[in-house]
Structure formats: structure tokens, C-alpha cells
């Protein structure tokens, strides 16, 4: 079920990544903020054009890794020193060099899971519905060979007629209105 009604935004289709980046950069300069680009492969220049420079995935990964490291090292220490002390050839109960290996593995495990699932969560995925999939040309192009710029209706500058004329000034292949 669509969450809202009305127009989600205007979607302009381009044939080359260069055209898309030029349009996105110009739109950003002209004061547009609520917009996004859709490309069939990562186009870094497009992300920068719409002012998206850094993300929080590295921070999440670091946090996850440190949590994994701490959790495993403390678990090993607690088990070997308090919960189940074993005398193995007279070695100290707190034999930390041996604990490094599982702690190292868990650092990687938790950091990797945080990177993957953190990335998905920050992207708002998985999501079963998105208004863009209502656009007739989106599914045939955005994951194959077309480049899209979407000006969203939430932007204060957005006016259906004005924005359509504005997008057409970039000579896109087409401009379509996307409904919620």
C-alpha cells in the first residue's frame, strides 16, 4: 500500500553518466536539495554532484569490530580463568596469547556483519515498495544502461510545471512524473 498520495517527484532519464552528472551538479548549484540519482553501477561523480560525500558505514564497522574483539576476549578470559579453569601443562590460566586468535576472528566477523547489515540499514533496505518502480521507464533502465535524476516533490522549490521545464533544459531522453 502506498503510504501517501500525489506526486513523488519528476524523473529525468539520460543516456550517459556524463549528462547525468552535469544535470545533477547544475541542479545542486541552483538550490535543489531533495533529489537523487539512479545508476546501473556506482557513479562516484554523481554522488558528489548531489552533495553526498561521506557515509557512516566505516564508523559502524569499527564499532562492530571492537565489540566482537571485546566480547570474545572477555568470554575466553572468563571461561579459562573463572568458569572452567584447566591446568594445561602448568600454563597460566590467563594465557592471553592463545586467546588472540579467536578474538581476532570475531573482530573480523562482527566488523564484516556490521559493514554489510549496517550498509543495508542505512540505505533503508530491504524495502518492499518504492514509488520509483511506478515509473514506466525506470525498471527497464536503472539496473541496465540508463541514468536517472529524480527531483523530489518534498523539495521546497518543487513545482510540477516549473520543475518539468527545468529538467527538460538538460535535454534528457524523457521526463516523467512519478506517483506515490
Amino acid at each position: 500500500m502506498p503510504a501517501r498520495e500525489g506526486t513523488y517527484g519528476l524523473l529525468a532519464e539520460f543516456d550517459t553518466p556524463g549528462d547525468l552528472v552535469r544535470a545533477a551538479r547544475q541542479a545542486r548549484q541552483d538550490g535543489w536539495r531533495r533529489m537523487d540519482c539512479y545508476t546501473p553501477y556506482p557513479v562516484e561523480e554523481a554522488a558528489e554532484a548531489i552533495g553526498f560525500h561521506r557515509n557512516k558505514v566505516p564508523l559502524l564497522t569499527l564499532t562492530g569490530g571492537l565489540m566482537g574483539l571485546t566480547a570474545m576476549f572477555l568470554l575466553e578470559t572468563w571461561i579459562s580463568v573463572w568458569a572452567f579453569p584447566l591446568n594445561i601443562g602448568g600454563r597460566p590460566l590467563y594465557s592471553w596469547p592463545a586467546f588472540i586468535v579467536p578474538a581476532y576472528e570475531w573482530t573480523i566477523l562482527f566488523a564484516g556483519l556490521s559493514a554489510a547489515f549496517g550498509m543495508l540499514a542505512l540505505n533503508g533496505l530491504p524495502s518492499l515498495y518504492h514509488p520509483l518502480f511506478n515509473a514506466p521507464n525506470f525498471r527497464n533502465g536503472a539496473t541496465t544502461d540508463k541514468f536517472f535524476l529524480c527531483l523530489e516533490a518534498l523539495d521546497p522549490k518543487f513545482d510540477l510545471v516549473e520543475a518539468k521545464r527545468y529538467l527538460e533544459s538538460f535535454q534528457p531522453v524523457s521526463v516523467v512524473e512519478v506517483e506515490y
Binding site: R25, D36, Y41, E45, V101, G112, M119, L122, N123, T143
Partner: protein, 472 residues
């Protein structure tokens, strides 16, 4: 003369003088069509069914062999005293080693910005996962009572017993389980954008539904791509130390034991190099028939085969250094037991296995892989890949069996002769691997479309094309 010939070869890029990574004349749409059609076509090639039948039959034999094993216990295998580790451990190390090339290709070559890897990384990662599936099974069934395998996990239990974290076998549990988890996650995350493509290109409702669920709603937003690229790079950065640690920890299983032939410090680097050596051989074994069968010569080119040959040459020499160092240390340590073990390994009753290893891993590949002509000869590289896979299996056989069968006391000397159940389990895992790999080729995009698109000339953005009115 030779250079002018090279210049006219259309497979060679005149700008670099190297073989092209992908054949010229491809567009975003043509490569998407080519790769997704393999999966989305309703017709399955007959050859696929033929090979799947063989793989499936062997996998069924594995089920029979495992059932009998669980009924009778590990006594149906040849393991006894003094050779207490047999096929199960050999196959475990061999399979997990094969998996390592997949991670190397997907992670380490990504960090080194080796974009030629893009064509082969997806199925190399799939190979990793299926190899780890086969590998992970062996230590479990080797315990004899696999239904108690959860004892290896630090779980609270009524016996108040906890795992012993000073043992390398315990480290193995964490290394291999982390490796399996991270490999699956890396593989799946890599496929999400391609699932989006499959969802949008599928014609049947059913396929749209399934691929749509797998795509998690991917729509190619550049914000998403930016986080996605960061996450991929971080996963690659994490998988690199992971893959090096996994075979290192496996080599600790041997190296920590106080046994001539096992107790050496060279084992970790030499195991890792051997893993990559055999893994690249397995990638070639899979890639050469696949590119022929599915007409992917334009995407998996001579350049890939050539580069993999070079990696094998380099890792082969590290392995050769490892073998040389073992022999040297046997003499230099002045340990009677070490010297006898090495003499017995080479010239004892099972010495043939050592010479099979030397022939397959050193004599044949390391003399021929120097030649570019041979490295780009497809039949020869297929032959070499089989030879190296055999050689690497014998390396593990030599390490496990020839270090054990004549121990400190001559009265306890024995021998090792694998039983039919040993062979059934080994052949069964080969069948399971084949069957899983064929399912992957049929139902999932085996070449990452989004990464191939980045390598096409159309993906280049010039500063002029993007100049805005106000200027930057």
C-alpha cells in the same frame, strides 16, 4: 617481428600491449543481456543436465557413505594408529585451500585495484563458498560423533563444561566459521545490484518475485551505491587478513603438534601460498569449460587466463621455497627424527606420493608457466589446472600421512591404505561441489554485471561533459 605480430592481434589492446580484459564492442545493454540471459532463459542446456546428473549421483553416494559412517563409526575409514589423521583432514585442508583463491580474487585484487578480476570474482566467490561447505563437513564427520559438534561452541550447558581456548583445533572452529559467514555475506552483498537487474529483466512472474525478494528493493540510488562501495571495500579489507588467518590457523593444527614433519614455523606462509596456488588452479578448472560452454570468451579473456597463470607461477615458487626449506631444516636442525622423517618421506615405502607432489606442483607447472604462449593456450592451462589440483591434494597427503606412518618407535610403525569409504566420501564431495556450482550457474548471475559495466569505455566521465554553467 614478434612485436609487429602482436600489434595486429585484435585480442591485444594497443594502448597497453597486454591482452584485453574484455573484448571490444560491448555496451551496457549487451553485457547485461549476455549475462542475464544465461539465467533467465527457460531452456536449460542438455549438457548442464548431463553434468548435473554426474554431480548429483556422486553427491548421493556421499549421502550413502555418510549414513554408513554414522551407523558404523570412523572405523570404516583407514584411520588407525599410527596414521590417525587420514583422508578427512587431507580433504579438509585441500578444499579450504581451494576456497582461498575466491577470496583472494574478490578481496585482495579489489584492494589492489586489479579491475581484470571483475569478470571472474563472482564465480570464484561461489567456488569459495561451495569449497568451504565441502571442507567444513570433514572435521565434523571426523569427530565420529557430529551430533555433538555443538560442544565446540561456548554454550552454557548442564555439564558446566566449557571449550579449551588454548587449542588450535578450537581456533579452527572460529576461523572456519567466520570465514564461511563472511564469504557468504560478501558474496550475497555483491549480488544484490545484480538481483535488481534480474528482477527487472525477468519475464516470468515467479522469477520477478524471487529475484525481487533477493534484491531487497535495490534501485541503484547513488547514495546507496556510495555506502555499498564503502561496505564492499571494508569487507574486502576485512576478508584479506581473514583469508590469511584461516590457512594460518589450519597450519597451526599441524605446526603446534610436537611431531617431525609438522612442527615447523614455515607452515603458515607455505600453507597460505599453497592454498592460493590450488585455488587459482580450481578457478581455471571451472572458468575454462564455463567460458566455452556459455560463449563468454569476450568477458573471460586470454588476459584472465594469462594473469591467473602468473599468480600460479608466483605462488608456486613460494610453495617450492616451502618444500626446499623443509628439506633444509631436516638437515640443519641436526635432529635425528627430523632427518629420518624427511628421508622416509622421500624414499620410504610411501615415497611415491612425495615424487607425485614434486612432479605435479613443481616440475610441470614451474617450468612451463614462464611461457606466455603456454599461459594463453586454453587446453594447456586446463591441463595445468588439473595437474596442480592433483599436486596440492598430494601435498596434504604427504604432510598428513608420511609424517605419521613411521613414528618414533619402529615397533609402532604402520602404513595407510584408504578404504572404499574414504574414496566414496572424497568423490562425493567433488560431486556435491559440482552440483552446487551448476545450480549457481543456472540460477544466479555468474559474472557481476554492475562491475563489468564500470570497466566499459562508456562509463568514463570527462570533465568537459559535466561542466556546468556557473563552472566549478
Amino acid at each position: 617481428m614478434a612485436t609487429s605480430e602482436l600489434k595486429h592481434d585484435p585480442r591485444i589492446d594497443p594502448a597497453t600491449g597486454e591482452y584485453r580484459v574484455i573484448a571490444p564492442g560491448q555496451t551496457f545493454r549487451s553485457i547485461t543481456e549476455k549475462i542475464s540471459r544465461i539465467v533467465l532463459t527457460p531452456e536449460t542446456p542438455l549438457g548442464w543436465f548431463a553434468i548435473f546428473a554426474v554431480g548429483g549421483a556422486l553427491a548421493t553416494m556421499l549421502m550413502v557413505a555418510l549414513t554408513w559412517l554414522f551407523l558404523k563409526g570412523t572405523g570404516i575409514w583407514a584411520i588407525s594408529q599410527p596414521v590417525a589423521w587420514g583422508f578427512a583432514i587431507i580433504n579438509f585442508v585441500w578444499w579450504i585451500g581451494i576456497g582461498h583463491a575466491g577470496t583472494l580474487i574478490s578481496a585482495i585484487l579489489l584492494l589492489f585495484k586489479q579491475s581484470w578480476r571483475n569478470s571472474i570474482n563472482r564465480f570464484a566467490e561461489a567456488m569459495t563458498i561451495f569449497a568451504v561447505v565441502c571442507a567444513g563437513m570433514f572435521p565434523l564427520i571426523h569427530t565420529g560423533r557430529p551430533w555433538l559438534a555443538y560442544w565446540m561452541l561456548p554454550l552454557p550447558n548442564t555439564m558446566n563444561v566449557w571449550p579449551q581456548f588454548r587449542s588450535p583445533l578450537m581456533w579452527d572452529v572460529f576461523a572456519v566459521s567466520t570465514y564461511a559467514t563472511i564469504s557468504v555475506v560478501f558474496w550475497y552483498i555483491g549480488m544484490v545490484p545484480d538481483f535488481g537487474t534480474m528482477r527487472d529483466r525477468a519475464e516470468s512472474k515467479y522469477a520477478q518475485y524471487i529475484y525481487g525478494l533477493c534484491a531487497l528493493g535495490w534501485r541503484g540510488s547513488v547514495r546507496h551505491w556510495s555506502r555499498y562501495e564503502t561496505a564492499s571495500l571494508l569487507l574486502a579489507g576485512l576478508a584479506t587478513p581473514l583469508v590469511l588467518s584461516v590457512h594460518t590457523v589450519i597450519s597451526f593444527d599441524f605446526a603446534v603438534a610436537v611431531l617431525p614433519g609438522w612442527h615447523t614455523t614455515i607452515f603458515p606462509p607455505y600453507f597460505v601460498a599453497g592454498a592460493i596456488y590450488s585455488g587459482f588452479a580450481m578457478v581455471l578448472t571451472l572458468a575454462i569449460p564455463l567460458r566455452k560452454f556459455y560463449h563468454l570468451e569476450g568477458l573471460v579473456t586470454e588476459r584472465h587466463i594469462d594473469n591467473m597463470g602468473k599468480v600460479m607461477l608466483a605462488t608456486g615458487f613460494i610453495v617450492a621455497y616451502g618444500y626446499g626449506m623443509e628439506v633444509f631444516m631436516a638437515w640443519y636442525s641436526a635432529s635425528h627424527w627430523e632427518a629420518f622423517m624427511m628421508w622416509n618421506r622421500m624414499f620410504g615405502p610411501m615415497g611415491w606420493s612425495y615424487w607425485v607432489l614434486i612432479t605435479c606442483n613443481l616440475a610441470i607447472p614451474l617450468t612451463t608457466l614462464w611461457s606466455r604462449k603456454l599461459r594463453t593456450s586454453i587446453p594447456f592451462m586446463f591441463f595445468i589446472s588439473i595437474v596442480v589440483n592433483t599436486g596440492m591434494w598430494f601435498e596434504r597427503f604427504v604432510i598428513v600421512v608420511t609424517s605419521l606412518y613411521r613414528d618414533f618407535l619402529p615397533s609402532s610403525w604402520g602404513t595407510y591404505r584408504a578404504t572404499k569409504w574414504d574414496y566414496a566420501v572424497y568423490a562425493g564431495t567433488l560431486g556435491l561441489f559440482t552440483a552446487l556450482f551448476l545450480l549457481f550457474v543456472r540460477f544466479l548471475p555468474m559474472i557481476p554485471m554492475s562491475e563489468i559495466r564500470m570497466m566499459l569505455p562508456g562509463a568514463k566521465i570527462t570533465a568537459k561533459a559535466t561542466a556546468t554553467e556557473a563552472g566549478d
